[in-house]
Symmetry: C2
């Protein structure tokens, strides 16, 4: 059976239909999945909820809301409406954590500071709504290669500067090893992060990274010291699910069941002796 | 005529033979070039020196030495020998600045801290030799996407932590806007950098960066606020050449003379009012 800390982020098997994927996870003993809104919308919220319940599978996080920097008020209203819908969806699927991607520069803009201000202001407006619904916003710093089009929040330190402006029970961090492993300040910032870590994701980075979006690999096959990373998040007290989230067209082209098998085995090898079982399992 | 601060890094027209390139620069009024060791080796040191002299063109920097992290002592000796040759070549071509790329992780290694220690130790050994030859080592922080295979030194702050361990007349920074523009700490670290900035390079980043090595663009065509960047390096007192250094297969496939024309015009537009002429020209 799969390690109790493993959560299968469904993007890692993005071509596997959700009903089969959830049945595959159940059969493999995977207790949680990281969900994405698009396949949930396709299947329907009610059907998704029923399938999760029947399979006995929890939702470690719902991906994704955010994308705050905009060029005009109409875009701002559209983004806000979509982010409010994301909170409702998180409630419906039983995810207590909603992943927030800051968003990149608005088209044609070079104003990084302005975009970052928009992110702070939008989170200030969204966080109270999320908290009222029992949802915590998990800001995910993304790799600097994705700064211009996906997230003007790039490092853990920068994300902490942002989220510490809000209550810890409302806003925290989704920390993905792939996005931050290179950061010379990672270990000291992790000690600072403490109870702000709301979720953890892993994948690996090849020695020659030529595609920063889709070039991620199965944990254990690349250059990231994931044992040290998982030990470090353990040490700051994070004992929740660890999502394996892989963006890779080649891996996506393989049968979902095979990929899930590789993920379950790779996770076991990786965490053997490195990560404590969650409190529920001791 | 080209702006007096413009230096043409020859990699931007990597398929243009060096003799024609230098003649093209002379005709366009470009006063300096950023040289690379490979084409110099191909043409021969003596011939290169003669061509530079005849064209009246200076060398703003020689690229590149470094690549310090190694797996064993034999590799370490090879790297050291090559780095000593690079110092001799810098002397020969009249470059006072030798660009240092830290290097990535040794093959099969996940030990980032160890690799970074090797970088510090190797620079400690190389810097006195360079200084004796009148050459300053300019450590270039590279984009985090290139951490594993090209440079375990990724940010300006991290590079400053490194170079400040050595005398300012021996070791400093090559600062390329492309590699650091996304960094939330860039502006404060730049103020800290002061006289450690030994060279400046620019290119641009497209809104969707899908190839972090070869996806760079002509200055002014992307998302980087290069005006602000050049103003900031100006403010810390850097008044030397500004190299335009572009890695892009499409641009490399165009005639060198056309690309140089675009660079000269783009640089003029960019710096109009933003960058002071160098002291020599006032």
């Amino acid at each position: 059976m799969a390690h109790p800390r493993l959560s299968h982020n469904i993007i890692s098997t993005s071509c596997w239909p959700l009903p089969e994927l959830l049945e595959g996870c159940r059969a493999a003993g995977v207790r949680n999945v990281g969900l994405w809104r698009e396949p949930v919308a396709e299947l329907g919220l009610a059907r998704t909820v029923a399938l999760l319940r029947d399979a006995g599978i929890g939702v470690s996080s719902l991906c994704r809301a955010g994308f705050f920097p905009v060029s005009d008020q109409e875009q701002a209203r559209e983004r806000r409406a979509d982010n409010l819908r994301a909170i409702d969806e998180a409630v419906a699927v039983g995810a207590s954590v909603l992943v927030i991607l800051a968003g990149g520069l608005p088209s044609g803009s070079r104003d990084l500071d302005g975009a970052r201000r928009q992110v702070t202001e939008a989170i200030a407006a969204l966080a109270p709504v999320a908290r009222d619904h029992g949802i915590r916003l998990a800001v995910e710093p993304l790799h600097p290669a994705l700064c211009s089009d996906r997230s003007v929040i790039s490092t853990l330190g920068q994300a902490l500067d942002l989220v510490e402006q809000f209550p810890a029970d409302a806003v925290g961090i989704m920390l993905d090893a792939y996005h931050v492993w290179w950061d010379p300040r990672l270990w000291s910032d992790l000690r600072r992060a403490g109870n702000r870590i709301l979720g953890v994701q892993i994948s690996d980075c090849p020695h020659e990274l030529r595609d920063p979006l889709y070039g991620r690999e199965l944990p254990g096959t690349g250059v990231i010291d994931l044992r040290r990373f998982l030990d470090a998040v353990d040490e700051v007290g994070y004992d929740g699910p660890i999502e394996v989230e892989i963006f890779n067209h080649h891996i996506w082209s393989r049968p979902g069941r095979d990929v899930l098998g590789d993920i379950v085995r790779g996770f076991d090898e990786l965490v053997a002796g490195a990560v404590a079982p969650s409190v529920e399992d001791t």
